[in-house]
């Protein structure tokens, strides 16, 4: 893609359409905030046009977007000056409390560490195997299995009680 600027430009926009949902969902899984997911989303696609990676296959494309999204989401929280706040209007439940569908699951996911949420998302939603996740995260397979085990343990209430909040 590097040697064909026009082709790259066209391809970049196709990739935006193709991977928008994947990137946004993974970013949301990591940050648990719409604001964070939007920031990460834009960062990922700007990196695409900035770095112009050579993506030879669909499998490679998907892995690249997963890897860069995780990278950008990590950077998002690493910024020590980022204030962990969100506008009041995004907290609909304050003024119009309960309960939206999935709130029990949300409660459980909110309690997982970001690293565990990423592994859960890649495993349960994107369908990656533990060796593949290990490759994406540059972690050992045992470390990934450990994270999955920890996440499942923390989700135990939800898993065992069929959707009851684990609070």
């Amino acid at each position: 893609m590097k040697e064909d600027p026009q082709g790259f430009n066209r391809r970049a926009e196709e990739l935006l359409d193709k991977y928008a949902a994947l990137v946004y969902r993974l970013a949301f899984a990591r940050t648990r905030s719409r604001e964070g997911a939007e920031d990460v989303f834009q960062e990922v696609f700007l990196r695409l046009v900035s770095k112009r990676p050579r993506l030879d296959s669909e499998e490679h494309e998907k892995a690249w977007f997963c890897r860069v999204t995780i990278n950008c989401a990590n950077s998002y929280w690493r910024n020590p000056f980022r204030r962990r706040t969100q506008p009041l209007e995004e907290m609909g439940e304050l003024t119009a409390p309960p309960p939206e569908a999935g709130s029990a699951l949300d409660a459980c996911l909110d309690r997982l560490s970001p690293d565990l949420r990423v592994v859960i998302h890649l495993y349960y939603y994107e369908g990656y195997s533990t060796p593949e996740i290990a490759g994406l995260l540059k972690k050992s397979e045992s470390a990934v299995r450990m994270r999955l085990m920890r996440a499942r343990r923390q989700l135990r209430d939800y898993l065992e009680e069929g959707g009851n909040p684990c609070v």
Binding site: Y76, L88, M146, P165
Partner: protein
């Protein structure tokens, strides 16, 4: 069940069309050369693209004063440092990498900031920025900091040293990227918290005495009990907090000093339905009689039970205004080689009843020693908590062939790793053994 629910939930999470189109527009701008891809996250706004072409320099350009300061700081580690060729400019300020020193676990990078157009830098200048590694997805460092080493008024140049300690072994070809977004002299920060349950100034449902500005904004009047409770000499303090006559949450802040620059943020921690606390900025700000009234519109007394804390944070400088911009230094590292020594050491957990944690590896370089534990042994299988172990207390002793025993200084660590640095670089061929927690590991040389 979980997988099904998870998939259903995330199927419904999609980027809205406006976000996609906004991103498409920005991608086109980058592709046409109209916008440079930011190294920082986008919500901070696009900084005007300045002349940030990749400029290479030589370390000699640093000048003798800077050079000497680096040598003084490096001390006997100087033979292990390497020259860094990296430079960038923005806002009339030029950043240049000068020297770097790194092994797999620690890194020191020396870089300068020079004001090309004026005297906006001085010996109090600090930088605000972030450090990332450009080629991997994970953050390899446990912590990092930047401090100023010297200032040369003749060349209007500050010398900084960045130090970072790694939680993972960094390979030889790693490249760090330091993104700087602000330089500021005389930076200070202060904060004040009010708990909703505190005796003095605790928030109640009662509407507090208020007034209206000429523009029609409702603001709190100062509360004498809070005014008198504030520490004398505090540069910023909360003088009123609670619900004003408009039914909204207000906080009134009083600056007691004259500043060249200030950034005050007031936030409230509010519980969600699931009990998690989330911070909300009080976004509406109204100046009133030298004070500042902050309001969280839409949050009234009926929701008081969700409010747990109010916090005011003030960043400020009495000396100067910040220079904000977009500087990015890419620093390729040349890693001093380390030996990885497999070990099987049982280290007692902090609570005797938790048993032991197994250390699995030592990483020994001329500059540092790192102890790495097997994370699997830290997890209590039958419980939901980890074995806690304070590795810092297991001070290693390094025995050399000449009979000298070295005790390196603890630098950084976490639950599963700890790094100590040597005051003087050591010759690995001279190491006979390493003793940790009264267990001696022979270092087997070829």
């Amino acid at each position: 069940m979980f997988e099904h629910d998870y998939r259903n939930e995330f199927d419904a999470i999609t980027p809205d069309r406006a976000l996609v189109e906004r991103t498409r527009g920005r991608m086109r701008a980058v592709l046409s050369g109209g916008e440079r891809s930011p190294r920082r996250l986008t919500r901070r706004g696009i900084i005007a693209v300045a002349a940030a072409a990749a400029l290479t320099v030589t370390a000699l350009a640093a000048g003798p004063t800077i050079w000497q300061a680096i040598q003084n700081d490096l001390g006997s580690r100087a033979p292990y440092d390497t020259e860094v060729k990296a430079a960038c400019e923005d806002q009339g300020i030029r950043l240049e990498g000068v020297q770097a020193l790194a092994d797999g676990r620690m890194v020191r990078v020396y870089f300068t900031a020079r004001d090309l157009n004026g005297n906006r830098l001085d010996e109090t200048t600090q930088i605000r920025g972030t450090l990332i590694r450009t080629d991997r997805n994970i953050w390899p460092y446990g912590s990092y900091s930047v401090r100023q080493l010297s200032y040369d008024p003749d060349s209007r140049t500050c010398l900084f040293v960045l130090t970072a300690t790694g939680r993972e072994n960094v390979p030889e070809d790693a490249t760090l990227c330091l993104d700087v977004e602000r330089l500021l002299g005389g930076y200070q920060s202060v904060s004040q918290r009010i708990s909703t349950s505190s005796e003095h100034g605790g928030i109640t449902e009662e509407l507090l005495p208020s007034t209206r500005t000429q523009e029609g904004s409702t603001v709190l009047l100062p509360q004498p009990e809070l005014e008198s409770a504030n520490a004398a000499g505090a540069p910023f303090s909360i003088v009123a907090a609670g619900f004003a006559a408009d039914g909204n949450l207000h906080v009134r802040v009083r600056p007691a000093i004259r500043t060249a620059w200030q950034n005050i943020v007031v936030s409230a921690t509010i519980l969600k339905d699931d009990g998690a606390g989330v911070g909300h900025d009080l976004g509406k700000v109204t100046p009133i009689d030298g004070d500042l009234d902050y309001c969280l519109e839409g949050f009234g007394p009926e929701q008081l039970s969700r409010l747990t804390m109010i916090e005011m944070t003030a960043d400020y400088s009495r000396l100067s205004e910040p220079v904000e911009g977009d500087w990015s230094l890419e620093i390729p590292l040349q890693i001093v080689e380390a030996e990885h020594i497999p070990v099987s050491l049982a280290l007692p957990a902090d609570q005797v009843s938790d048993g032991t944690v197994m250390a699995q590896r030592l990483e020994l370089s001329p500059l540092s020693l790192t102890l790495v534990c097997d994370q699997d042994t830290m997890y209590l299988e039958e419980e939901t908590r980890l074995r806690s172990v304070t590795l810092e207390k297991f001070i290693p002793e390094v025995l050399l062939k000449n009979g000298t025993t070295l005790t390196p200084t603890y630098a950084d660590g976490n639950s599963w790793w700890a790094t100590w640095t040597f005051d003087q670089p050591i010759d690995l061929d001279q190491v006979v053994s390493i003793t940790i927690n009264e267990q001696t590991i022979p270092v087997d040389k070829r």
